[in-house]
Symmetry: D2
Subunit: 337 residues, 4 copies
């Protein structure tokens, strides 16, 4: 930690702060410049609270040197984490494709889409049974009935399931049916939920919050890891900016950046990341070229009749073309799909 004092701060205030730092087991090194004093602090700054130090008299600015997450950090674990979901490896050479409708709407719907997807080689089926909705008057999902349909479809077509869990009380039930538990964008900082899924051993699919920084994203993962569950994959799904032509701004540079900072697998969701079906295919290819370990896409047998997010869903036929093109890019990048 680096502490910049205000110009002209009295020596007594500097001394007091140094004492405080020493009392926490740190080794403070004061540097007396021409204009102002800077205190460099040697030791594990993560036990210091930046806001706490900022409140001392005479302090102008506090700058952290280390990133505040440990278990999620590439410095702690240099080898990439590979998560095994029923034999499907996520985080290795093969890019994991996850597809399916936004919401599970009926047994027929999910059976039909699972059949089509499995034929194309997709091994992970997505579908929402519990749906977070911005307003209280929208379709909220079929609940447990939806989970049952998902499981039936997955069993029939030998697929794994990823589906969202919205609250602590749902974890047990959702975990009964699903292979991967999704934590949605709006729950990325629902810390009690993170701790609770951290106590299971289920693979967790953690979506980035709409305006979460990379550091906050990795700290959310740290909550899960530090509670004992090492199976976390991170999903870039677009952030909120001033641009309104797309639903979100898909920040693909996040993929190689996260690869540097963490050992966890990175998935990209271009459906929510753009909100427009015509942009999904190019963004799938771009995400693969950027180095993503997996891709999640919304596919619906009949987008016009979808109960949610129809405008960003592809039909199975459209998705078949996406898969074909995506395979070529993966190959060019020395990956498989």
């Amino acid at each position: 930690m680096i502490i910049v004092m205000k110009k002209g701060t009295e020596q007594s205030k500097v001394a007091r702060l140094i004492q405080e730092l020493e009392s926490k087991g740190m080794q403070p090194v004061p540097l007396y410049g021409v204009e102002r004093t800077v205190i460099a602090v040697i030791g594990d700054e993560r036990i210091l609270d930046e806001h706490h130090i900022s409140s001392f008299p005479g302090v102008s600015k506090v700058m952290s040197v280390l990133r505040p997450y440990k278990l999620a950090s590439r410095e702690t674990q240099t080898e990439p984490t590979i998560i095994d979901v029923k034999g499907i490896k996520i985080g290795g050479k093969t890019i994991a494709m996850m597809a399916g409708p936004c919401s599970v709407e009926s047994e027929d719907q999910i059976m039909s889409v699972a059949k089509d997807l499995s034929k194309m080689g997709v091994k992970i089926l997505r579908g929402g049974a519990f749906k977070p909705r911005t307003g209280p008057y929208s379709f909220e999902g079929l609940g447990e009935e939806g989970l049952r349909y998902l499981r039936q479809a997955a069993n029939k077509y030998d697929m794994a399931i990823v589906t969202e869990v919205m609250e602590i009380d749902q974890i047990e039930k959702v975990a009964e049916y699903a292979d991967i538990l999704q934590i949605g964008t709006r729950n990325m900082q629902n810390f009690n939920l993170l701790k609770a899924v951290g106590k299971t051993q289920k693979p967790i699919f953690l979506k980035r919050g709409m305006s979460a920084t990379i550091t906050e994203f990795l700290l959310a993962a740290e909550y899960i890891l530090s509670n004992g569950n090492p199976n976390v994959m991170l999903c870039e799904r677009g952030i909120r900016t001033f641009e309104t032509e797309t639903r979100n701004t898909l920040a693909l540079a996040t993929v190689p950046l996260l690869k540097e900072l963490t050992h966890l697998p990175i998935i990209v969701d271009p459906s929510h990341g753009t909100g427009k079906k015509s942009l999904v295919a190019p963004m799938v290819k771009a995400a693969i070229a950027a180095g993503a370990d997996g891709i999640m896409v919304e596919v619906h047998p009949n987008p016009e009749e979808a109960l949610s997010d129809g405008d960003q869903s592809l039909t199975p036929e459209e998705f078949k073309d996406v898969m074909k093109e995506a395979r070529k890019v993966a190959l060019a990048c020395d990956r498989e799909l």
Copy 2:
């Protein structure tokens, strides 16, 4: 709802969409312009899903005419809502002052600050017992012990309590001690929690999400209102922007804007809204001048020893000056404090 078709869309596609709209009980009026067709839809568009309509072939853009919330809207209730908390009226002529430490840290701390605040005329005591923290290695609050201290202090000094509830399972316990339940920024779209507090009759203090639009904010309130609890106050606490000199960007124009859109009381939190204690006093005055119905400020007996947010906390003496200045501005704006 206004539906703009793509240039050169075939008549059959327009017809199909019109049929769909009629089947939902709407009255579609097609307008054939030189360049393109626009369909104006008469009827309660809130039963239509924008994303659903967008997915029809030939649709270029869908624009909503009505705002999607009803109960929160000023058009539904023209009179301002005044919430009564143990005789304290929130939403009327008197501006409600809420103050106290970020976290309850000890019995002494909260007793001392409550004593000071009550002497200045502050009637609502804030203090966190359950604290959401960005990383898993920070102080998370005293839990129920903190609630007990809060209640003792509030009883002794005849104050009401506002404190955060982080998950459904905590509601009952927190409601036992607190007079106002706070829903934090990170939980503004924790829809199950919103529904659950909507089923109580406790006044709810709903903080705006870090990057929530005004519409999303009011839809979050709508979740509470539509579950039967009319006692919702809204708190502007700063939004996330590119600016890093302040912790957040306090958007004070939100205050008069919300006054136009909704009948619910509006509170401003300049402590989180700026993150710097030197900016709190001017922002308290500005918030009052902007028309806020209440102000929430962090006050700590000894900010340098605070376990959280010390850099944005005022001492009781500093806050006393703020109160004095704030009173003058309130008076100039024909309000009381």
Copy 3:
């Protein structure tokens, strides 16, 4: 400057960087921590280029200790700058009111509004003669004809004029008519224009860029100051965020923050800052309570017939009420108006 090296960087790379720093006259102090090496650099870091240092092998992060502007800094000049415009003092106890139409549209229009405004005690008349417009098909102002009308009106009613200058070639002509030269939002980083107005002695009204950080804003002022013109006032006019209900997000905490960082006067423009006439009155009051040294408001004799920005313009009668209310708030804040 603080330079954080990557974990496990070889000693030779550290040595090489130290050599480079010494060659620039700096005094580098290497601190060897358990996890990594940090180099604290004593000396005037403003002569180092952050991007340059970042490019050395082994460097993980570079953090500046000092702010990069000097002349604009409160540390260089502790006394507030007071700008004298024909006897009107900007930056002192009296709040400077500036009002007038977005564009000068005719002699009658500007005469009529100047008459009304001067009666209310407004001493600075605004009005655009050269208008930057987002698209090429909009009204671009009357040009020199507009300047002439402005001058006539100002002379008749004993007012000073503030108007925008859009390019270097216009400076001479605009300076002939105007008392204050405005640099618009879109030109805040038109560095050649900044240098050119820095070579005049005319007071400059510098608007914050739509997404400029505070540091960039002050560096833009530094361009003008370092070219010899000390008469710069800064205008907060709202920044661009994800919120679409208002045209911009007026960041009022900028006012007291700038007061800490710089000695230059701060003006607030709530008309562009909100884009909605109903929000102007509360934001004028809030800006004054926040400590603004001046306020700029759009006033048009007949907003419905305005050729630009009619939706954010007040009528003279409406503005009269704003003035009355603003005066009360100013008084409560120990200012005059």
Copy 4:
């Protein structure tokens, strides 16, 4: 244009607005809903001013149906624009690679890099002679001397040149040396400069403003096109968001989105778009996969000695690898490079 009236607006106000619209040659169609009146306006709304209509009494919201640019629109010209720069086609099947240092620093530097780049097949050389710098104390480029070096290098290695022009007075001189004129990010809304380059026939490389919307970006292009110059290429170079780990947020979905909206070629600049050299290679590949027509990359013979932007520059050897990988992705996407 769609005009939504406030609930309960008197019929006389609706009538007045209808009259105004008719007087402008529009055909207004009032739609009387249960809750409110909506006026749909048939005709070329681009001659109406949204802000003007918003200022009429009773108007609640104005929504544009058409996009405000014409010449830049894909609806006006369905075939892609292909720009010919000395025989190099930009906008066709072959992806145009542009590379070179941020600033021209010496004859040796630019000769050396041009030699290396031309060997790899790069045909367009970039290099800044006039540099916009955030603060007044940084290196501003060699000016005309830099242009001369650029031209010598380009002539020797048979390359074309792209370089920035910062003000109207520089156009003639820069055009003498350069093949493509770059309009920088900070000048995207320097409308007089746009008009002036629109009057030349030189190909223009227009960089997106740091916080420009897609619509504003295309309106900036419209300024150039409507002044008679059809040779405009658009450059996505990252937008400003809350994220600070990268210099900007490279919004790659902009590429396919612009392809839908406009016929102009789209270039991507991953060097400024990320600000980190380690992210450039994956973003080059991702940009190609997203459908970019060209790529601009900063390459410097010795980034550690660069006078600007060293931290985002690649060495020629590093760039050689990027080219190799990029070629594979281009091929997989049925493009050439």
